[in-house]
Amino acid sequence: MTTDSPRLKPVLLPKQALLAKTFHWVNVVSLFIMLGSGLQIYNANPVFGGRQGLHLPPIFIGGWLAGGRDWHFGAMWLFSLNLLWYGLYILISRRWHHRFVGENDLKALQVGKNPKRKAYAWHRIVYTAIVPVLLLAILSGIGMYKPAQFYWIVDFFGDWQALRIVHFMTVPTVILFAIVHSLLALKVGGSRLLESMFW
């Protein structure tokens, strides 16, 4: 056999675009810092119950409130600019149309018979759904960081406490997402898919 025909090609190893991998890495690291320093800030005055409220064990980034704020307002640039350039990239490259959830996924879930295709559809739904959550974290964060300049964001969420709750709820949402996202990726493509996203 000297000629390769498409039919005889071996199964391709999953491969990710370098830009997608870059985004994923920066997102993982910056989100970790945002969560760690955010919980440090949270502990200064817990969202639920104030000073008498539930404090979290002090294992977070920054050491104390001012340190937590330094990390949070430093890493926010990394986190949000990373999301911004990736947003532009998936729009321009049209990745948005074929790499995120689409009608075909919904159809696969409704009428499809292939369990692997269904798992893949769920995978795509979940990682697409985290995008608005991350954007919500930024919007509510800007509202809390600069409530006088962006008073309309506070108004949009109702009041200060509602704004705090929304911003805080992005933390458990992201943690839950990270777990489900990893499990679904394993289910869809095994450790080879998982590794392809990192290395």
Binding site: A66, W71, P147, A148
Partner: protein, 233 residues
């Protein structure tokens, strides 16, 4: 007189700076580095966002939250005799002055219903009434080079602000809270209040306002311990 006072000021700063070493034990060394790298950028953005002419939209009186304003102070509550009280305004000004409370009460009263936001994360809607800091600064006639304003409090607390934020129409030296005389715990007889800065910038029991061209080594009680200096909202 003026120079002596500034020296005193720096002495206080030196003493308070020593607690940096002690207080630093629990803090994160890297956070200081991260802050040094990113805070100048954040401050530049905050300065860009602040329009010193543009008032922040006021909140309705019906939304005032009297129970939510937590009393925070770094040390003790000073007792000030209102009759003997004088507000000193000096530094690089053409007309240094000392004002009694009655003289302050005669100046135009401005009321602002605003959201008081604490660095800790809580917030309370409060009405503050008092004299615009802008009016006081104009009375003292600062020299052209003035860019910063220092506030000294009777409890030893000290703060510094950028001049632009001090000239904001809602930056007040307040003597009223929620329509009543300012309680001693909230800074009577006179405190800073403005919707454009975090709560720790709002010095209570203010006895002296000093205008300067340069930022001194001590920038504020909490700032010298790691909090952001500009702290704009």
């Amino acid at each position: 007189m003026q120079r002596f006072n500034r020296r005193q000021f720096l002495q206080i700063a030196g003493l308070s700076g020593s607690s940096l070493l002690l207080g630093g034990c629990g803090s994160d060394l890297f956070a200081g580095v991260v802050g040094q790298v990113t805070e100048p950028l954040n401050q530049r953005l905050e300065e860009l966002l602040l329009n010193p002419q543009k008032p922040v939209p006021e909140l309705p009186v019906s939304q005032i939250e009297p129970d939510k304003l937590i009393v925070n102070s770094f040390d003790f509550t000073p007792m000030i005799d209102p009759v003997k009280y004088r507000l000193t305004i000096d530094g690089e000004v053409n007309h240094p002055m000392q004002l009694s409370l009655n003289e302050l009460y005669k100046l135009p009263l401005t009321s602002v219903v605003m959201r008081h936001v604490c660095v800790e994360g809580w917030a309370a809607i409060v009405q503050w009434g008092g004299v615009r800091l802008r009016d006081l600064i104009q009375l003292a006639q600062p020299k052209d080079t003035v860019c910063y304003v220092y506030f000294q409090s009777a409890d030893g607390y000290y703060e510094s602000w950028d001049l632009r934020s001090c000239l904001h129409p809602q930056t007040l030296m307040a003597y009223q809270k929620n329509g009543e005389q300012l309680p001693i715990d909230n800074g009577a007889p006179l405190r800073l209040a403005a919707p454009i800065k975090l709560g720790y910038k709002h010095s209570k029991w203010v006895t002296r306002i000093m205008l300067t061209s340069n930022l001194l080594p001590s920038r504020g009680y909490w700032e010298d311990r790691g909090y952001e200096w500009f702290a704009g909202l």
